[in-house]
Symmetry: C2
Amino acid sequence: MEFFRMRSLRKTVLLAIVASVVLVVALLHSWPTRAYTTVDVRQRPGPIVERHLEERLPEPDQRSTNIAYRLKESVAGLLARNGCVCEGESGGVNLPFAQLLFPRVSAHPLHTAFDASELEEMKRRRAKEYQGFQMRSQTPVDMLIVAEANNPLQYPTQGVEVRPLKTILIPGLALQDLPRELYTVNFTSTLGVLNVAAEVEGVKVKGDGEMHMTLMSSLLPNLNRQLQFVSYTNTLFHPSTADTVQFETEGHQAMFTIKIRHRVTPKLYNTGPKGEYNISALVTIATKTFLRYDKLQDLIDSVRRYYPTVTIVIADDSENPKTVSGPYIEHYIMPFGKGWFAGRNLAVSQVTTKYLLWVDDDFIFTANTKLEKLVDVLEKTTLDLVGGAVREATGYTATYRQTISIEQGEEEEGDCLHMRRAFHHIIQGFPNCVVTDGVINFFLARTDKVQQVGFDPRLARVAHLEFFIDGLGSLHVGSCDDVIVNHATKIKLPWVSQSESDKTYAKFRYPPASSDATHTKNGLLYFKNHFQCLTHN
Amino acid sequence: MEFFRMRSLRKTVLLAIVASVVLVVALLHSWPTRAYTTVDVRQRPGPIVERHLEERLPEPDQRSTNIAYRLKESVAGLLARNGCVCEGESGGVNLPFAQLLFPRVSAHPLHTAFDASELEEMKRRRAKEYQGFQMRSQTPVDMLIVAEANNPLQYPTQGVEVRPLKTILIPGLALQDLPRELYTVNFTSTLGVLNVAAEVEGVKVKGDGEMHMTLMSSLLPNLNRQLQFVSYTNTLFHPSTADTVQFETEGHQAMFTIKIRHRVTPKLYNTGPKGEYNISALVTIATKTFLRYDKLQDLIDSVRRYYPTVTIVIADDSENPKTVSGPYIEHYIMPFGKGWFAGRNLAVSQVTTKYLLWVDDDFIFTANTKLEKLVDVLEKTTLDLVGGAVREATGYTATYRQTISIEQGEEEEGDCLHMRRAFHHIIQGFPNCVVTDGVINFFLARTDKVQQVGFDPRLARVAHLEFFIDGLGSLHVGSCDDVIVNHATKIKLPWVSQSESDKTYAKFRYPPASSDATHTKNGLLYFKNHFQCLTHN
C-alpha cells in the first residue's frame, strides 16, 4: 500500500513540476519584453512646423515698397507662370513637306481621352488619388527654411542624417554670443529625442533623453564644448523621413532638418573576368514579339553572328505561340494580346546581367552593331541608358532624340508636358554622343535602373516615350549615333500581298480606340501622371 | 529656232530656280540652330567644394581641450563604431526547444559564400562596382554645411528647387549689415547662371547672366529690394542633382544648395466606381507556381468562392506546363526552372491595378481572408505594404514580422545586416496592425512601389526577406494579424508516398549549392548589396 502511495505521490509531484515548468515557460514567453508605442501613419496634410516659418520670415521693409525698379523681361519671362497654357505654334509655311522640314509644335489637351459623360468622374477620382500621393510623398526635407541674419547660433543646415531608430552626434553646433552672466540654449525635436554623449564640467543639462532639452552655463567655452556632445536618437520609426529640429537661444532661433532614412543599399552586378568587355557576362538582349516569328528568327540569327553566347530574353503574346529555342534563348509565353508594354516589362523583369539591350523583334544586327561601344559609354559615365541608331532599308538612320520638360500647371488641372526633337549637350570624351531625355527603341541600359522605372503594363498598344516620361528624374539618358542596327523593312510594297499574320499584326498594332480610356496613351498621361496637356513637334 | 531657244532658256531658268530653292532649303535645314555645349558626365570623385567646408569650420577653441567631461555610456554606446563586428549571442540555456522559446542571435560572415580561390577576385570586382555606384549616387545635397554664427547674410538653407534648365527666384535673401559706405554681396554657382528679374534703382549689378554675380549699393534698403529679384537658371543638364551656391559679403560667407531635378511624376491608378471597395478594380492576385497544379487549382477555387472576378496572375516555370485557364486568369509560361524570384518579378510586372496581393500557390482562401480589411489599411495610411497571417493545418498562425537594420561597417568590408523577429510600433487606429520591415508571403501592396523595388531574378531558389532588404528605405511596411489565409499542409505524413511531382518539387525547392556563388542568397548579400555579415534570430 505504501509503495503504491509513494508512486502516486511521486507522479503527482512530477506532474506538478512539469505543470509549473510549462506555466513558467508560457509566462516568460508571453511576458511583454517591451512596451510598444503606437505610431500614427494615417494619411494627413503637412506638419504644423510650416506655420513657424511664416512667422519667422522678416517683414519686408516698409520703405522697400517705395523703391523703384524696372522688370528685366529676358529673365522675368523665364519664371514659372500661374499655371500652364495648352497651345502649340500657329501659322508658319503651309507648303508640302513643311511639317517634315520645319516641324511645328502641336498641343493636345489630354482630358479629350475621355467621353464628356465620364470626364467629371475621372477628374474627381484623379484628384483623390493625387491627394493621397501628395500626402505620401511630402517630406520635411523639401520645406523652405531661411537662416536668420546675425544669429549667434552656429548650426548645420544640411547633411545631417541618421538611420531609423539609431543615434548620431549633431555636428557643427556652437554659440558665439556676447558676454552674458548665463548662456542658455535649447533644442526641440519631434521624431526622436535629444541627449548628450558626455557631460561637461560647468554645464547644466535638463531634458536629456526627451524631445526638449536645455543646456545652461555661465562659461561660454564650456557650453560650446558641451554642444560638441549633443546627440539625437530617432524613436518614431519611418523608413524615409526627416525631423525638423529647433535650436534656440535668448532672442534668436534656428531650424535645421535631420534626415532619417536607411542609406541606399547598392544593387551591384557581377561583371565577369577582368580585361575586355565580356558582352555575354555583361549584357542580356531583351525583346517582345507578336506574330512575327520569321522576323524574330532573322533577329536571332543576326545576333548570333556576332554574339554567339549572349542571352536573349523574348516575351511573346502571340495567339498560337510557336516554340523558339536555342542555346541562351529564354522564351516567355504570355496571355494572347496582353500587350506591348506588358511584354517589355516582362522581358526586363527577367534580366540578371548588369546591362540590358532593348531591341525590337524586327531589327537586324550588322558589323556596325558594336555593343562594346555602348557598354564603354555606360562603364565610363554616369549615364543610365544610351540609345543607338536604327537604319531603315532606304539608308535613313534615326536616333529619335527627344527632350522632355514639365511646366507647372494649376494643381486641379495638372502640369503641361513638352516634348521636342532635340538634345541637351554633347558628351565630353564621346563626340558621337549626346545627353537627352528620350531615345529610339534600341538602347543599352543599367538593368537596375530600367527595372526601377518599368514599362507600364497598362499601355497595351502603341507607346514609346511613356517609358522616358516615367523615367524623368531617375534616368540619365544619352544617345550615340555610331552604333547602328538595321530595321527590317516596314514599307508595304504594293505587289506583295499581306500575309494572314501581317493582317492580324496590323489589326493589333494599329487598333481602334480601347474601351478603357485610362489605358490609352493620352488617358494614362491624364490620369496616371496628372498632366493636362502634351505639346510636341 | 527662236521658239526652241526660248524653251531651253525657260527650262534653264526653271532649273536654276528649283536648284536654288533646294539649296536654300537644304541650307536652312542644316543651319545650326544653336551652339551645343559639351557636358562632362564621366564618373569621377566628389566636387571641390568640400574643401571650402573644412576651411570654413571654425577652429575648435584652444581652451576647450582643457575642459573636463565625463562620457555618458548609455548614449555614447549607441553611436556608430568604427566598423561593425560579425558576432551573434553566445551562451544561453541549452535545453531542448531552447532555440524555439528563446531564439538566439546567430551571425553569418557572408564572404563564406565563395570558395577561397575566387574570393580575392570577387572582392576586387565588388569594390570596383561599388566605387562606380558611389560616384553615381553622390549628390551635393548630402554634403555637410554649417551656418556661420553672427553672419549679416540672410539666406535659404533648405527647400530651394528648380526643374532642369529652368529659372527660379531665390527666396529669402537679405543683408542685415552695420552701416557702411558701400554694401557689396556676390554669388557664385557652378551648374547654372545668376541674374536679376528686375533692376532696382541705386544698385549696380555686375556679372548678371554668369556664374559669378555682384550687387553693390550705398543704400541698404535698395540692395535688399534687389536681393528679392535674384534669379538662378540651371544651364548644365542633369536629371537629378544640386548646385551649391556661395553667397558672400565683406568678411562673411554662406553656402546653400539649389536642388535641380524634375518633380516626382505621380503614378496614379484608376480605382473603379465610388462607394465600397471594389476589389476586382483595386486588386490583382499574383502568384508563382511550379509542379503543383493541384494545389494551384485549390487556391483558385478558394479565391473564386469569395472574389469571382478578381484577376489572378500566375507565373509558371514547370517543366511541362499544363494549361491553367478560366475567366480573369492570366497564365505566363517561363523557361523551365528559371526560378522563384524571377517568377515573382514576372507576376508583379504584369499587374495593372492599384494594389497587388501576393499569395503562394498552396494557400487557401477562407471566410477570414477579408481583402477589404487590407485595402482599408493601405487606403487610410502611408503604408506601402501590409502583410496578413498564414494559418497552418495545426492551427498555428504566423505573421513572420521582421525588423531589419543596417550597421555601418568599414568601407572595404561592407555593412552588417541585422534581422530580428520583432516590430516597431502598433498602428494608431488599427489595433491589430503594426509597423515593421519584413512580413510573411501573404501581403497586399501598392503595385507601383513593389514594381519599383522588384524581386531580383538572380535568386533562383529559397529566398524571402531579400525583397524587404532591397525595399529598405522605400517600402513602409505593416502587418495585421486579423486577415488570415490557410496554408495547405506541408507536413510529410509518413504513410503518404511522395508523388513524382512532389519529389521533383523537393529537388528544386531545396537544392544543393548553386554553381554561381553570386546568385546564392549569401553570395548576393555579399556582392550585390555590399554586406559583410548577417545576424538574425
